[in-house]
C-alpha cells in the first residue's frame, strides 16, 4: 500500500504468520477498522494457492534458534539416532552411491523455509527455485522423478529460475495434438490432471489453469 497508512509488509507477514504477538494484535485492530486492508487480505486468501505456505506454525515471537518446536524435533531426533544406530549395527547389503539421498522425510513440515537457504548452500541456485514448498508423494516415470505439489505433478528437473520457454496445454485437444507431435511426453502427461515436465529445454504444463 503506497501513499497511505496501510502496510503491505505487515499484511504479507501476517499471512505468512511471521508477526510477533504485539504486531499481530496491532494489525487485527487495524483490520477491524480498515475495509481496504480487509479487502487486500481477502484477495490474498483467495489466491493463497499461488503463495508460499506460512513459514512457521507459530508467530515470529516464537521463532527460535530451532526451526521446529521441541515436541516435533525431539521425537525426530530420537528416530534419527535410532535409525543411524540400526544402520551402523546392521549395514544394508546394498551400497549407497556417494551423493545419493537415503530417502525423503515424509513430513512436509520438515521442508525448510523457501527463502532462507541454510549455511553451506552458497553457490547453489535459490532454494525457492529448487525446493517445492510442500512435497507430497513422489513418482518415477520414464526416467524422471515427479513430486506432487499442490495437486500438480512437478518434474524435479523443473527450475523456475532457469526461465525456460513454457508451453501451456490447457485442453484435451491441445494435449492430444502435442502428444501426437511429441509422443515421449505421453507417460508424463498420464500422471494426472496437472503435470509440469521439462523436456528438451522446454517446460510443458498439462492442465494449466485457464485464466479466470
Amino acid at each position: 500500500m503506497d501513499e497511505n497508512p496501510h502496510d503491505i509488509n505487515l499484511l504479507a507477514a501476517y499471512l505468512e504468520d511471521r508477526l510477533a504477538e504485539q504486531e499481530k494484535k496491532g494489525l487485527v485492530e487495524h483490520l477491524a477498522v480498515c475495509p481496504e486492508c480487509r479487502a487486500t487480505l481477502a484477495m490474498l486468501a483467495r489466491g493463497a494457492d499461488l503463495l508460499p505456505r506460512p513459514v512457521a506454525a507459530g508467530s515470529a515471537s516464537r521463532v527460535s534458534r530451532w526451526p521446529l518446536p521441541v515436541r516435533v524435533w525431539l521425537p525426530l531426533a530420537a528416530t534419527l539416532v535410532l535409525a543411524v544406530a540400526a544402520l551402523t549395527r546392521f549395514p544394508s547389503p546394498k551400497a549407497v552411491v556417494p551423493g545419493e539421498t537415503m530417502g525423503r522425510p515424509a513430513s512436509p513440515s520438515l521442508t525448510p523455509p523457501a527463502s532462507s537457504p541454510p549455511a553451506g548452500d552458497r553457490g547453489a541456485p535459490p532454494r525457492e527455485a529448487r525446493v517445492p514448498i510442500l512435497r507430497g508423494p513422489e513418482r518415477k516415470v520414464a526416467g524422471k522423478t515427479f513430486h506432487l505439489v499442490f495437486g500438480e505433478w512437478i518434474d524435479t528437473a523443473f527450475d523456475p529460475a532457469a526461465a525456460l520457454p513454457s508451453v501451456d496445454v490447457k485442453t484435451s485437444e491441445e494435449s492430444s495434438a502435442l502428444l501426437a507431435r511429441i509422443p515421449a511426453l505421453a507417460p508424463y502427461a498420464a500422471l494426472g490432471e496437472r503435470v509440469r515436465v521439462v523436456h528438451q529445454g522446454t517446460v510443458y504444463r498439462f492442465g494449466a489453469r485457464p485464466p479466470r
Binding site: M1, L15, R18, A45, P52, S115, S116, P126
Partner: protein, 303 residues
C-alpha cells in the same frame, strides 16, 4: 568519563550487532550481484533499527526473522542491478500476471501486471519490501492492492455513467417509508452491536460477510481450523442477535415494534450479509459465486 564509557559501550554493542548480521548474511544469502555483504548488512541494520527503535529485540534477532535472500534480490534490484532484475523477472513476473488473473479479466490482468512491473522498476518500489514475508507474498499483496484500486476506479467510472443515465431517464421508485425506516434502524442497531465486538471478532465477521470469504479461505488467512471458525461465527451471530434485540428494546417503542414486525431476527445471518456486503471493494466477478453461496446458506437456514 562515564559518558565516554557509555559511548564506547554503545559502539561496541553496535559493532557486535553488525558482526552478527554479517554472519547471518554470510550463512543465508548467496551473494550473486554487485551488492556486497557489508553494504547489505548495513541496509539490514537500517531496516531493523526502523522496526525495533528501542533495540528490543536485539537487531540481529529481527534480521534473523527476515527473508534474507529475497531481500538481497530486492535490494540489488532497487539499486538498479540488471542481473538482479533478470532473476526477479524470471522468478516473479509470471506469478504477478497469474495472480492478477485471479481478480481481473485477461486483458486487464496483463495491463495491471505490466504497470506493476514498470512501477517496481521505474519508481524503485521494490525498495519498500522489508523482507518480513517472502518476496512472493509481498508481491501478491502489491498485486491484490493494485487490482483493488483498478476495480474501484472502474466502478467509479461506471457509477458516473449510471448517474447520468438515471438523470436522463426514469428515477428508481423510492422504497416504502416503513421498509426504509426498518432497514435503516436495523443497519444502525447492527452497526452499534458490531461496534462493541472485540477487534478479532469484528475481523472474522467482516471477512465472512463483507468480503464473502469461504471458511476454507478464512482458515488460510487466519490459521484457524474450519470447525473453529464455524463455532466462533455461530457464537458471534448468537451474541449479535441478543445484543440487537436488547438494543431494539431500549430504543423508542414504536421503532422497536417496527423492527420486530419487519425483521425476523432468526434470519440475522442473511440480514448481516445484506447489511455488511457487498463490501465496497468486492470484485464484480465474484458476485455470482457469492450469490450461490448465499442461496446455499438460505437453504441451510430454512432446512
Amino acid at each position: 568519563m562515564g559518558r565516554v564509557h557509555r559511548g564506547r559501550g554503545l559502539a561496541l554493542k553496535e559493532e557486535r550487532e553488525r558482526e552478527r548480521v554479517l554472519a547471518l548474511v554470510a550463512s543465508q544469502v548467496r551473494l550473486r550481484f554487485a551488492l556486497d555483504g557489508p553494504t547489505f548488512a548495513d541496509r539490514l541494520l537500517e531496516l531493523a533499527r526502523a522496526a525495533c527503535p528501542g533495540s528490543d529485540p536485539p537487531l540481529h534477532e529481527h534480521v534473523r526473522r527476515l527473508s534474507l535472500d529475497d531481500l538481497y534480490l530486492a535490494t540489488a534490484c532497487s539499486l538498479g542491478d540488471e542481473k538482479a532484475w533478470e532473476e526477479l523477472a524470471a522468478r516473479h513476473v509470471g506469478f504477478i500476471r497469474d495472480f492478477a488473473r485471479r481478480f481481473l479479466g485477461e486483458a486487464d490482468a496483463q495491463d495491471l501486471a505490466g504497470q506493476i512491473v514498470a512501477d517496481l522498476w521505474q519508481q524503485r518500489k521494490l525498495a519498500r519490501y522489508e523482507g518480513r514475508s517472502t518476496l512472493r507474498t509481498w508481491l501478491g499483496a502489491v498485486v491484490a492492492h493494485a487490482a483493488l484500486n483498478a476495480v474501484k476506479a472502474a466502478r467509479r467510472t461506471a457509477a458516473l455513467g449510471r448517474d447520468e443515465l438515471r438523470r436522463g431517464s426514469l428515477e428508481a421508485p423510492p422504497a416504502e417509508p416503513a421498509t426504509r425506516e426498518t432497514g435503516s434502524l436495523l443497519a444502525q442497531l447492527v452497526a452499534e452491536a458490531i461496534g462493541s465486538l472485540p477487534s478479532e471478532q469484528k475481523v472474522l465477521l467482516y471477512l465472512y460477510y463483507e468480503q464473502r470469504l469461504t471458511l476454507d479461505e478464512m482458515a488460510v488467512a487466519l490459521r484457524i481450523s474450519k470447525g473453529g471458525l464455524s463455532r466462533r461465527l455461530t457464537r458471534i451471530r448468537s451474541w449479535l442477535r441478543t445484543a440487537i434485540e436488547s438494543l431494539a428494546n431500549r430504543s423508542a417503542g414504536a421503532s422497536a415494534d417496527v423492527l420486530r414486525e419487519g425483521i425476523d431476527l432468526g434470519r440475522l445471518d442473511l440480514d448481516l450479509g445484506a447489511l455488511l456486503g457487498p463490501g465496497p471493494d468486492r470484485m464484480e466477478s465474484e458476485e455470482a459465486v457469492s450469490k450461490s453461496r448465499d442461496d446455499v446458506r438460505a437453504r441451510r437456514l430454512q432446512g
